[in-house]
Amino acid sequence: MAAVAPHRLTPPERDPAWLRRVGWMLACAVLLWPLLVATEFQPWLLVQPDNLKVTRQFLASFLPPAHSAEFLAMVARETWRTVAIATAGMTLALVLAVPLTLLSTRVLSISALAGRMAALPFAARQAVRWLLIVLRSVPELVWALVFVRVVGLGPTAGVLAIALTYGGMLGKVYGEILESGEAHVTQTLLRNGASRLQAFFYGLLPGNAAELTSYTVYRWECAIRSSVVLGFVGAGGLGQQLDNSMKMFNGGEVLTMLLVFLALVAFADAVSARLREALA
């Protein structure tokens, strides 16, 4: 009979899973290698003398931030344009999204009351859904690039890009909100002979109005952020000026505009949070 090893009472000195942890980390490092190659990951480039000199010059030019009166006036004007592009884009997005939502909501189907939805309405609703998916999955920056080509530089391209992308997003989420709620009231109205629009206004809308509005306000906040980004492809507003200043290595102007942008985002955030609180 083999001697039984004495039972060890003292806890192990080292982490018992140590070897396995190190093994996994090495395996991850090997998997990481192709990513490093593909992204030309060369951090030492950052500290190369030439690059470092450019970076240092650019960073040094950040201070003092640009604060001449005419520059500040221009920044204020462009900030308003940014908000205006977002608001106008959201308005058009609503104009696009509301009818599409009404067309695609399953709760408003009369044939579905009897069990299965009829083939034609089903196909129509599915088609609208696919349209919303397509609108939403093209990034707004790509829409903006395309519209800048067609209508030229300026806010029109930004407004249209936001309208299309956000129209798709709003339409999809409105549909989800309307379908996730209680359908009983709406169905009762429809069964008793109300038209679909009446069922929407008296059954579906009052039950979901707060949630719909709160999502819309949240999206408006997102639209402000994305209208700054759209400026980088020439759709006007703060982003376009920021891009120009960056290209001219004018750090002071960049810093001022970044600060204004951060303040704008924080302001929109606060407004939207307060509005949503008031709705809840």
Binding site: T39, L45, T87, S137, V150, T156, V228, F232
Partner: protein, 279 residues
């Protein structure tokens, strides 16, 4: 409770008016009026060129523009180039998210209060930094980092990492603060140092949450990486802007198709995996 003395003698409780509705209503009507003013002022102040856009001429140029996309350039060498761009986009998003997860965790440590008695000196300051990093969009980061790191995917990776660090750091800090305190308290009572308390008590409890946040951000970052190239930060976006700038619309169409395919694929995969995981 103050009650008027003669109210006690009344046979019926005194007739009360309903609360004034004017207040409740007026908040709503002020907000509505404000929104209307904002919308009207927006449309009025922007010089939107609708006439140019909806005129027959513009529609024709739009049609011509769309027509130029066809046929897309499907020659093998260009498709290989687009495939390389797609891989570059994926690699940028993957590496950017990974760097951000590491940096986010490193910043989440000072940004969270590990136990009730901890002074957490750096909490407010670190959170301010994280908020700043998060508020600057990826594209603006890319524009700034292109100056420091040069054109190419490296700048894009760093830009994604910078923005995502802000997002993940904040979420990680919340996760660490919300972790059940029991195991950590038990170790601390035994005199274990705070570093090992974090590694062996807090971290194992929050790792699943950290992973799910990181995967969610990765999904977002794939979409963001596809367009970052617009400012010269590599990936499909750079190809798109390059060929669009040269008016090679056939090639532009191929790049656009690849971009949409990538986004659709990511959406479908994430939708499917959510369905499988939540079933």
């Amino acid at each position: 409770m103050s009650r008027r003395p003669n109210a006690q003698h009344a046979a019926n409780p005194p007739y009360r008016l309903p609360p004034p509705m004017f207040d409740a209503r007026c908040q709503a009507c002020w907000i509505t009026a404000g929104v209307l003013v904002l919308v009207i002022a927006s449309f009025w102040s922007l010089d939107l060129r609708w006439a140019e856009f909806v005129s027959l001429d513009a529609l024709r140029s739009m049609g011509r523009f769309v027509g130029e996309f066809f046929p897309p350039d499907l020659s093998p060498e260009f498709v290989a180039k687009v495939a390389r761009g797609t891989w570059e986009t994926l690699a940028m998003s993957g590496l950017g998210t990974l760097l951000a997860a590491v940096a986010g965790l490193a910043l989440a440590l000072p940004a969270s209060r590990h136990h009730a008695g901890s002074p957490a000196w750096l909490r407010a300051a670190t959170r301010l930094v994280l908020n700043g990093m998060r508020s600057i969009p990826e594209l603006v980061w890319a524009g700034l980092l292109v100056i420091a790191a040069g054109l190419g995917p490296f700048a894009g990776t760093l830009a994604l990492a910078a923005h995502t660090t802000g997002v993940l750091g904040r979420l990680f800090a919340e996760a660490i603060e919300n972790a059940p305190p029991g195991p950590g308290a038990a170790l601390r009572a035994q005199g274990v140092g705070s570093g090992r308390v974090f590694l062996y008590a807090t971290l194992p409890q929050v790792v699943p949450q950290l992973m799910s946040y990181s995967l969610y951000r990765w999904e977002n970052n794939i979409r963001a990486a596809a367009v970052l190239g617009v400012v010269g930060a590599g990936g499909l976006g750079q190809l798109l802007v390059f060929h669009m700038g040269l008016f090679q619309m056939g090639k532009t169409a191929t790049v656009l198709a690849a971009m949409l395919l990538l986004v659709a694929l990511v959406d479908a995969l994430s939708y499917a995996s959510r369905r499988v995981l939540t079933r």
